[in-house]
């Protein structure tokens, strides 16, 4: 403390100019700056470099001409995208997949966390947790490989369907099943892991509240409703807001692993569309424009949802 105090007082005495302050600071902290230097270089190249590269969204970029020589075209690519048939399709699919998985998996995770918390036998509880956390760690490629295999017309799911008297269908080739497959498999993979955050919130609830409730004659259900659920309400709100902020942020990995031309109509989301148009069909500028549109909307959503949360609950991310 004394060290920093001294250096803190010095500048006030001599009231140095801007540049001499920089020089003095640089001299004093040169080792620290040496340490942070590779990190700064990394951020400038690999995070700000692509942001600089976003200019191609407003240009007709071609690889040979490079960033500078490619001609500016203003909002041409954005206009093309907004007026195209694909704009409505990818926006609809992104929103539907996002909202459906929110509607189904969000409450289910809370319910499972509450139920898991009511298991009194520690060993059994630990066992359930150990098993249900596993899928979280399995790579998306393997998960999708299993999904593809199970959904084939001679796969496990169809075996069960036909055993129950239904007709065999190649599930991933049919438009009407794509979203269900996507969301159900997502729940299979993520439900267990999703409960952790609620379980940790539950452990922070004051145990005396339960004792008091028992003395007041509250039964288990009333305890769950009034104490546990109330205790994790801030967590629920903040997670819900986070989800709202990322509603247009459906990852492309699982989509591009599971979709095929027969299901593009219902499966193609913004990010998978960027991938296909940009990297597969090499429409660099168009792809970058669609991607930029997506990032800007995402940013607006995150900022808005944070504002909303601050207003309604005094909880915010920053």
């Amino acid at each position: 403390m004394t060290r920093s105090l001294q250096t803190d007082i010095l500048p006030i005495k001599s009231a140095p100019g801007f540049f001499s302050r920089i020089a003095r600071d640089f001299k004093k902290n040169r080792l620290l700056y040496l340490m942070i230097f590779p990190v700064i270089v990394y951020y400038i190249i690999f995070n700000y470099g692509p942001m600089y590269g976003l200019q191609i969204a407003f240009k007709d970029f071609n690889l040979r001409a490079g960033y500078w020589a490619s001609p500016w075209v203003g909002f041409k690519h954005f206009k093309l995208f907004f007026e195209s048939y694909y704009f409505g399709r990818v926006l609809r699919n992104t929103l539907l997949i996002s909202v459906y998985s929110l509607i189904f998996s969000f409450p289910a995770t809370i319910v499972f966390a509450l139920l898991l918390n009511e298991i009194r036998n520690r060993i059994f509880k630990r066992f359930v947790q150990t098993i249900t956390y596993i899928p979280h760690f399995i790579s998306i490629i393997i998960i999708c490989g299993i999904i593809v295999d199970f959904c084939m017309s001679d796969g496990l799911i169809n075996d069960i369907i036909s055993f129950l008297g239904g007709a065999r269908t190649p599930l991933l080739q049919e438009m009407k099943y794509f979203r269900s497959v996507y969301i159900i498999s997502g729940m299979w993979q993520g439900l267990g892991w999703g409960t952790i955050i609620y379980l940790s919130a539950i452990t922070n609830i004051d145990q005396e509240l339960y004792q008091a409730a028992i003395i007041d004659g509250a039964n288990r259900f009333r305890q769950i409703w009034h104490i546990t659920l109330t205790g994790i309400r801030p967590t629920i709100i903040i997670l819900l807001i986070l989800r709202m902020g990322s509603v247009l942020n459906v990852g492309f990995e699982k989509v591009i692993l599971l979709y095929n031309p027969a299901t593009y109509e219902v499966a193609d989301v913004i990010s998978s569309y960027v991938y296909r148009r940009g990297l597969q069909q090499l429409n660099w500028s168009y792809g970058a424009a669609v991607g930029l549109f997506n990032s800007v909307v995402n940013l607006i959503l995150v900022v808005t949802s944070n504002r909303v949360s601050k207003k309604v609950s005094d909880i915010s991310l920053w």
Binding site: I22, L54, I119, I141, S162, W188, N219, F221
Partner: protein, 298 residues
């Protein structure tokens, strides 16, 4: 204080246990099915319909055929290189950044560095400019393309910084008096005292590298450079019933190729998943801890 359970509570507890058992079964069964199928006799498996409650016979042929595929071995080697190299770089860079940001002394540009890093959590260039950058730097067909572009995660740096700040400053001050500089303080005091957070970070970064495949898919053309996940994509998803699997299968026996093809897929899944399951006890422990640290911060 023991209170007699009401009839409703007993019903609830039974029902709850039942739901948990069902849920556990639903989670575990697909994995067990894959395991059972992978060691089953291919002929009997192809004739079988519906649930599989135990392996049909016991044959490890499929595993041998998968191991014979040179791509599996090279895939494993490439993945190990990326996981070790990538995680080491991640940890090194994150430690530097977290140390810088955790300092109490007056640093003129500290706030600016922090802002520069946080901005990237909310906005980025996106897929296309990233691709153009990495290929422009000549990293196509180079494993560095899977290691360097993700060298630092701001979120992890912030968590590490919080943990570094919890270390009492008096330790560092006495070291400074003994003539230590920032490097020796970071590597001799801070890092040894932060083993548990470093373990969490190493596992976080490591699993991410192990499971990642998309950068490999867009930056690598040479199949000899493919990490295991990309090899798995060829086997499992791209032309699910063709090429890869059949080449492997036909090396066994021409007319049985079709049957063996299916067990080969399952064996490949098991082979690519076993390493993760081996470290799973550590993963579970440290990841749960990590989620809680993250939650505290949020």
């Amino acid at each position: 204080m023991k209170i007699r359970k009401s009839i409703w509570e007993i019903i609830f507890d039974t029902f709850n246990c039942f739901i948990m058992i069902i849920w556990t079964l639903i989670t575990a069964y697909p994995l067990l099915y894959v395991l059972f199928s992978s060691v089953s006799d291919a002929d009997r498996l192809s004739g079988h319909r519906g649930l599989l409650l135990y392996p049909l016979g016991f044959k490890l042929d499929a595993y041998w055929l998968v191991f014979k595929n040179p791509l599996i071995l090279s895939g494993y080697v490439n993945t190990v290189i990326v996981v070790l190299g990538g995680t080491a770089l991640n940890l090194f860079m994150s430690c530097l950044a977290a140390y810088f940001l955790s300092r109490n002394d007056i640093i003129l540009w500290k706030k600016a560095v922090m802002v520069m890093m946080v901005i990237t959590m909310f906005f980025g260039g996106g897929m296309i400019p990233n691709y153009l950058l990495v290929t422009g730097l000549g990293m196509r067909d180079n494993l560095l393309a899977l290691i360097i572009p993700g060298a630092v995660s701001t979120y992890n740096v912030i968590i590490m910084r919080t943990s570094f700040m919890g270390i009492p400053a008096s330790l560092e001050e006495s070291a400074f008096l003994d003539g230590a500089n920032h490097f020796s303080i970071l590597f001799k005091i801070i890092i040894p005292l932060s083993k548990s957070i470093l373990a969490v970070m190493a596992l976080w970064y490591g699993v991410e590298h192990w499971n990642s495949w998309f950068s490999a898919a867009i930056y690598l053309n040479k199949r000899s450079l493919y990490p295991i996940q990309l090899v798995m994509r060829e086997i499992l998803i791209q032309n699910a019933q063709s090429d890869q699997v059949y080449t492997m299968a036909s090396s066994a026996n021409e007319d049985q190729a079709a049957q063996v093809a299916k067990t080969i897929k399952y064996a490949a899944i098991i082979i690519a998943t076993v390493p993760i399951l081996c470290v799973y006890p550590y993963l579970q422990k440290h990841f749960v801890k990590g989620v809680m640290i993250g939650a505290l911060k949020g």
